[in-house]
Symmetry: C2
Subunit: 206 residues, 2 copies
């Protein structure tokens, strides 16, 4: 039991270490020796858990997909409607990308040239946003004149832009930047009276 626990912890430490090294060096340049030594384990221990760098990258992606799923599933009790849930999720995502090396590396791995992603996190995020925008549209939360496809692609493109630009400058992932985006977009999406009830900065303090 204790041995199992230690194995789980070693595996997690390796995933975190790999995420940090992938982010700094890129997947192709990342060295397994650097990853294992940063995790405080031997090269042998790394190979016991992960047969190759590709398998390790898949594990980082899986762990990041779990974090993303939690963000998408969590609906604040303060979120008055579906649109607010979408706004809240973009804030949670930006916050996660700022603070969680695994989530950040998972998104970066989605765009890595020459590697086929196992779980393309950007695509998964796109599917969720598209689904939620459609639901908001069918619930009458959006103006009838807006194209649902256009709303989904604007939200996905802007958040992926924040993610990518945030790799070099964390200000792109700040609450301020994400709020400004919604302050601009919300009045275009909903009627004026409805927009007044929405919180561009997210419905719960973070």
């Amino acid at each position: 039991m204790v041995k199992q626990e230690r194995a789980v912890r070693t595996r997690e430490a390796l995933i975190r270490s790999a995420a940090e090294v992938f982010h700094q060096e890129g997947f192709t340049a990342a060295s397994l020796t650097v990853i294992s030594s940063r995790a405080g384990v031997s090269n042998g221990a790394l190979h016991f858990h992960f047969a190759s760098k590709a398998v390790l990258a898949d594990a980082v992606e899986d762990a990041a997909a779990g974090v993303l799923q939690t963000i998408m599933d969590r609906r604040s009790s303060a979120a008055s409607c579906i649109l607010q849930h979408i706004v809240d999720a973009t804030h949670e995502l930006a916050c996660g990308l700022r603070n969680d090396a695994v989530l950040r590396a998972g998104f970066e791995l989605s765009g890595e040239a020459g590697r086929v992603p196992r779980t393309d996190l950007r695509l998964r995020w796109k599917s969720w946003v598209t689904d939620m925008v459609e639901r908001a549209g069918h619930s009458g939360e959006l103006r009838e004149t807006v194209a649902l496809e256009g709303v989904a692609s604007a939200v996905v493109a802007a958040t992926v832009g924040f993610e990518v630009l945030g790799n070099r400058d964390a200000a792109w992932l700040s609450r301020r930047t994400v709020s400004q985006f919604w302050l601009l977009l919300l009045p275009a999406l909903t009627s004026v009276s409805f927009a007044g009830d929405l919180e561009a900065g997210g419905s719960s303090p973070r």
Copy 2:
């Protein structure tokens, strides 16, 4: 003279070939042998022009920066105002990223982990958009209530998102996707009467 012309052509062929290989394999994994053979020249010829892969990447970035500058400088006579010039430039950029391997690779190199960009194209684009949005604001083209900083960051984030997502799916760089973004945003930026004169699809056919 003929010899000089040939040298210029070889250099250009190498830059184009490098751009294609960087896009497919990523900068780190890209092989100089593959790049030279795709350009139809010897490894020796490549090294005569470029001392290292890093120098070659700088040359790709420089060439891409030239293409981006042309896009930013070109103002259609049909563009009635600064905001239309910005809309047109986003369409030109998307079109360029779809069709020009050098421009695409230049943008990708800006985000390459473990490499300091010589000319960060995303930052250059951001500077231009920020400057133009400020000018549009000072010319009274925008609603007084919109935050100029928010407009610039929404446009930059969305276009960088289109660029990154377009690497795996060209539909993100289609005229339709870019037009939908503007159809959504323009009414939020300008008064209703003014927005009617703007072409979300760009002011000139392409």
